[in-house]
Symmetry: C2
Subunit: 237 residues, 2 copies
DNA sequence: CCAAAAGTGTTGCTTGTACACCCATGT
DNA sequence: ACATGGGTGTACAAGCAACACTTTTGG
C-alpha cells in the first residue's frame, strides 16, 4: 500500500532532525492580603541551589504541552479546571546549563484560598509577593515578566477576579486586585461604575462589615456568564 | 568539584524525560493587489499529497526557535530582518501523522514586492489570498486562523504597513490594507484623520495619479520612528 | 458634465476622568 | 465628632462615528 510506504519514508525524513527536551514552566499567580503573589519552589541542588524556580515539568510522549501544564498544576496545587494560558516559548540553547531544554511558558491563575496547601508545602513551595520576588533560576525572571504582561493584557480586556478572588467579594477587593495587578491606583467611583456597567456581577444581600464602617455589599460573578464580552476594563498600557 | 558532579547528576535527571521533534511553522503574510495573502508550498508526498503547507522546518541543536524561524524565512523568501513574532504552540501528540512533532508557530510579514521570487518559485510556493485558501495539511488551518487574529491584534494597536506596503504609499492603499486585514470597510475620512494624528507618517511632494483622477499624495513612515507608541488604530474586535 | 477619489469640516454621541458630595458607622 | 470607606452625581474633555461638502480631473 503506497500510503503506508510513504509514511515509513516520512518517518525516516523526520529521523534526521534532532529532538529536544520540552518543558512547561508556569507562572502561577494568586492573590492574598491585597497582594499579587507568585508560587515558587526552591531549587534543592546545584547549579543554582538556593534559587527559586517556577513550577514546571517535562512534556511526555502522549500529551500536548497544554496537558503537560495542566498535569504540573494538578501535581503542585491539587487544582483542576483553573485558568491556564500559553504565554511564550523560551528556547536559547544555553538557557538551562544542565541540558538543552525548550521551555513553553504558561500563566495560571489560582485561588489561594481553595488550593491544596499540603501539596504545596510538601514541595517547599512558597507564595512570593510579585513586588518582592527572590532571585530566580535561569531565565525565569524574564518568563515571569512576560507572564505578568500577559496577565495585565487579559485583565485590561476581561474582568478577571473569578479566578483569583473568593466566591463573594466587595468592589473594593476587586479594585485592590486590579491595583495589585497594574501597580497603580484606580479612582474608586469610576472603577465601580465601569465594572458594574458590564453587567456580569450580581449584588448579594449581604454586607462585608470588616473592612469598612459602613459595610459594603458582596458581589459575585453571574452564573450564566458567557465569558464572551471583550469589554475594556482599564487602559493598558 | 561538587558543582560539576551535580551537573552530571542533573544531566542524568534530564535523560529520563522524552525528547521531541520541535518544528517552526510560519504564517507568512503579504499584501498584493489589495488582498492579504499567505505564502504556502505544496506538499509533494503522502500523506496529504496535493495539500498545501505553511513554511516550516525543524529546530536544530544550536538555535533557538526564533532563530529557526528566521532561518526558515531566509531560506524560503531570501529576506532578512523582517517582522516575525511568536504566535502559539500546537502540540497534540497526533497532529502530525508522520511522527510526534511539537510546532511553534510564528507570524511573519513580508513585502511581496521585494522578496526573492526565484527562491519561492523554486520551491513551488504560491501566494494565496487569505479569503480563498486551499485545503491545508494537519492543523495548519487553525495555525493560520490563530496567526490572523494575532495580526489583527497587532494592527489594531500599532500602525503596521511598513512591513507590508511599498516604501511610498497613499492613504487609500494603507486603508485598503487595513480593510483586507480586518475584512471590513473603514470610513475614509475618519481613517485618514486617525492615522495622521499619530504623527508617524510624513507626506512626500509626490502624487499618485494612477488610482484616482485627482491624485493622492504619497506618504512614508518617518525615519526616526521609535516603534514605541501603542496608539489604538482601530477597534478590535 | 459626471463619476470617483482626495481632502476637510461639523455634529452628536459615548467614554473617560477628575472631582464633589452625602451616607453610615466603629472608634 | 470624625475619619474611613461606600456609594452617587456632575462637569468637562477626548474620542469616535456618521456624514455633508468642496476640490480635482480623467473619461
Amino acid at each position: 500500500m503506497p500510503g503506508e510506504e510513504a509514511i515509513l519514508t516520512l518517518s525516516k525524513i523526520y529521523e534526521q532532525y534532532p529532538k529536544h527536551h520540552v518543558a512547561v514552566d508556569c507562572s502561577i499567580f494568586g492573590y492574598e492580603n491585597g497582594e499579587l503573589k507568585l508560587l515558587l519552589y526552591p531549587r534543592g541542588f546545584e547549579p543554582s541551589l538556593g534559587k527559586w524556580s517556577l513550577m514546571g515539568g517535562f512534556v511526555q510522549e502522549s500529551e500536548s504541552v497544554d496537558e503537560a501544564a495542566r498535569r504540573v498544576l494538578l501535581d503542585t496545587t491539587g487544582l483542576k479546571d483553573i485558568f491556564l494560558e500559553q504565554a511564550g516559548a523560551f528556547s536559547k540553547p544555553d538557557r538551562d546549563p544542565g541540558a538543552r531544554v525548550i521551555s513553553m511558558t504558561f500563566v495560571a491563575l489560582v485561588r489561594i484560598d481553595i488550593h491544596d496547601k499540603d501539596l504545596v508545602r510538601e514541595r517547599g513551595a512558597h507564595w512570593w509577593p510579585i513586588t518582592k520576588l527572590p532571585a530566580l533560576i535561569f531565565d525565569h525572571q524574564q518568563i515571569v515578566a512576560n507572564g505578568l504582561v500577559l496577565l495585565q493584557q487579559k485583565a485590561s480586556i476581561d474582568l478577571i477576579g473569578k479566578e483569583l478572588l473568593p466566591d463573594m467579594f466587595t468592589l473594593m477587593q476587586l479594585r485592590n486586585l486590579y491595583e495589585a495587578i497594574f501597580q497603580k491606583t484606580f479612582d474608586p467611583g469610576n472603577f465601580r461604575k465601569k465594572v458594574l456597567s458590564i453587567d456580569i456581577l450580581e449584588r448579594l444581600n449581604l454586607k462585608n462589615t470588616n473592612e469598612s464602617k459602613k459595610g459594603a455589599f458582596y458581589y459575585q460573578f453571574k452564573k450564566e456568564d458567557t465569558g464572551i464580552r471583550s469589554e475594556r476594563i482599564v487602559k493598558f498600557p
